[in-house]
Assembly symmetry: C2
Homo-oligomer: 330 residues x 2
């Protein structure tokens, strides 16, 4: 039976989906549904291709109430920068939740992943950061470091940003970009400890395999969103920091145990015997979030298929409304 399949390019998607309050609400709703127990989200399919220094992850989730679901293909090929290409790319497929038929192919080159990942940072800030954030910090200087600060700024109107990276010139470039984008004073800082000590909201957005955040740097009134670790070999936060915090929150406990900061904490013999709250449970009001402005909170984001389905369906609706994309007759 002949059908129309929508093909949306990165250009179409950049036009239709922005990192803004609407997208943050879409992702917040995805977390709320995820915690509600009716989302179906199988484990990630992951394939390593060592000879190309590459990997590919496939994520999916079915969210009740949506008429479609996404399957996301995320390749990371780390020799690409030598070829003048981005390491991350990929696409999303949208299938009908009723018939399984392909409805759309979103050739986003990872753009929607960038946005839904940053939007999760905004959701974490919305529910966990202290009300007043004077200074925000970021460890990491990549595209996601910039987006995370932009996302956090949607929720907390900080006046200063501190940027730390392993290469100071990268920190400087990142700080310049943030200043240009947000009209907030951003500085490159050579000492990660200083970023932690002087900020009320810190995002870690690195690919570190050894902790870069020391537990001794935690202080009352700090919120950390740790979004770098999404593989079993990654670890950004010293495990004892998770125990020391007043509240540790997972995006998905079963994933964080395998891929997030919680994995490293368990490996260190910490955080055992208790099931931490999930972000969606806090959104839904089922579990408590930050209680006091002086609490120390950590949110561990590994990235969920629920976010992918939510943003893909949102993007497809926006593209249809705005008449974007091309149609393949099949």
């Amino acid at each position: 039976m002949a059908r129309d399949i929508y093909i949306l390019t990165e250009t179409d998607l950049r036009h239709c989906v922005k990192l803004g309050p609407l997208t943050v609400n879409v992702i917040e709703e995805a977390f709320r549904l995820l915690a509600g127990g009716q989302v179906i989200m199988p484990p990630i399919l992951s394939m390593q291709i060592p000879e190309a220094h590459g990997e590919v992850d496939v994520k999916t989730a079915y969210l009740p109430g949506l008429d479609g679901f996404a399957i996301k293909v995320s390749p990371g090929f780390f020799n690409n920068p030598k070829l003048g290409l981005a390491s991350l790319s990929g696409l999303m497929i949208v299938l009908s939740a009723k018939t399984g038929l392909v409805e759309a192919v979103l050739l986003d080159n990872g753009y929607l992943t960038d946005v839904r990942t940053a939007a999760a940072g905004a959701v974490a800030a919305r529910h966990l950061a202290p009300e007043i954030v004077e200074t925000a910090g970021v460890l990491g200087t990549g595209a996601q470091a910039r987006l995370q600060i932009e996302a956090a700024y949607l929720e907390r109107k900080f006046r200063r940003v501190m940027v730390w990276g392993r290469k100071h010139e990268h920190s400087e470039a990142c700080a310049r970009d943030i200043t240009a984008k947000l009209n907030v004073k951003a500085e490159a800082i050579a000492d990660a400890g200083r970023v932690l000590r002087e900020s009320q909201l810190v995002v870690t957005a690195t690919a570190a395999s050894e902790p870069i955040v020391k537990a001794e740097w935690l202080h009352p009134g700090l919120h950390i969103t740790a979004m770098g670790s999404d593989q079993a070999e990654k670890n950004e936060i010293e495990p004892s920091a998770l125990e020391q915090a007043d509240l540790y929150v997972s995006d998905r406990v079963s994933q964080c145990e395998k891929l997030g900061e919680l994995r490293a904490a368990h490996a260190a013999g910490l955080m055992n015997g208790k099931t931490p709250p999930e972000l969606g449970e806090i959104i839904a009001g089922e579990k408590a979030g930050r209680r006091l402005q002086s609490d120390i909170t950590i949110c561990d984001l590994t990235g969920t298929g629920a976010q992918d389905t939510a943003i893909a369906i949102h993007a497809l609706q926006a593209a249809r409304t705005e008449g974007k994309g091309s149609v393949i007759k099949t």
Copy 2:
């Protein structure tokens, strides 16, 4: 960086890829590589959506020597026939094995899966069926039953086909189609036991969850290709038949243990303590196939990501050569 992505429709792909000797050779080579130990093939991602009576599987594999690899999305939504739609659909994505960038989207609605699955049946017949096959049998009356007989006929020029299905009118329709396609006398047979007893090559292509092939029906000089079981709840062959056969072969042992006839045999306490040969090991000459014309052989096909990558790359090359498909600039 702007790039061209090929979009191929089912029509394009039906033009470029046929079930014939060339395709069978491509799939044979995939099995040979798979047994060579250098293929990377992660476990299948599988999601059930009970409220839509649907499921979706995602398979992938990296085959050394090919410049791309496929990710295949196979939905099966079993209320579709009520809506006048096929249960199975889906697509394949081809990514560069060097950069991970999306090279092509093959909107095949499951056509390439049909072909690569049938081609695996031909490979099994090539290496395991007795030299002389007078009569071929098939249990099942769906699209794959027809294709499996067509595939087997590429390898063994039988003169008679016996078709059994739960609904006799379906068997009759299937037999008519086979006669029209191959110009071989095909008959609908009401007794599955008779099909087994009178054939030298039998393909089981049903979704049975209880065995339909009884061990007592095995006879010297019989080859069975069991391709229906690809889920943990499926089972076409009585477990003791696997023990009784002179040779039991898996497409992939690790998959057949979870999804194939081997799973049911293990569950019955049979076939333990020995690792059966894989089809690719027999193709490569590393393990023995059929020794005597009187041997009884069973080949358990669950479907591998290696086949998907092989046929997708083959299809893409054919489409490029023939100038098929459209190009999206991204």
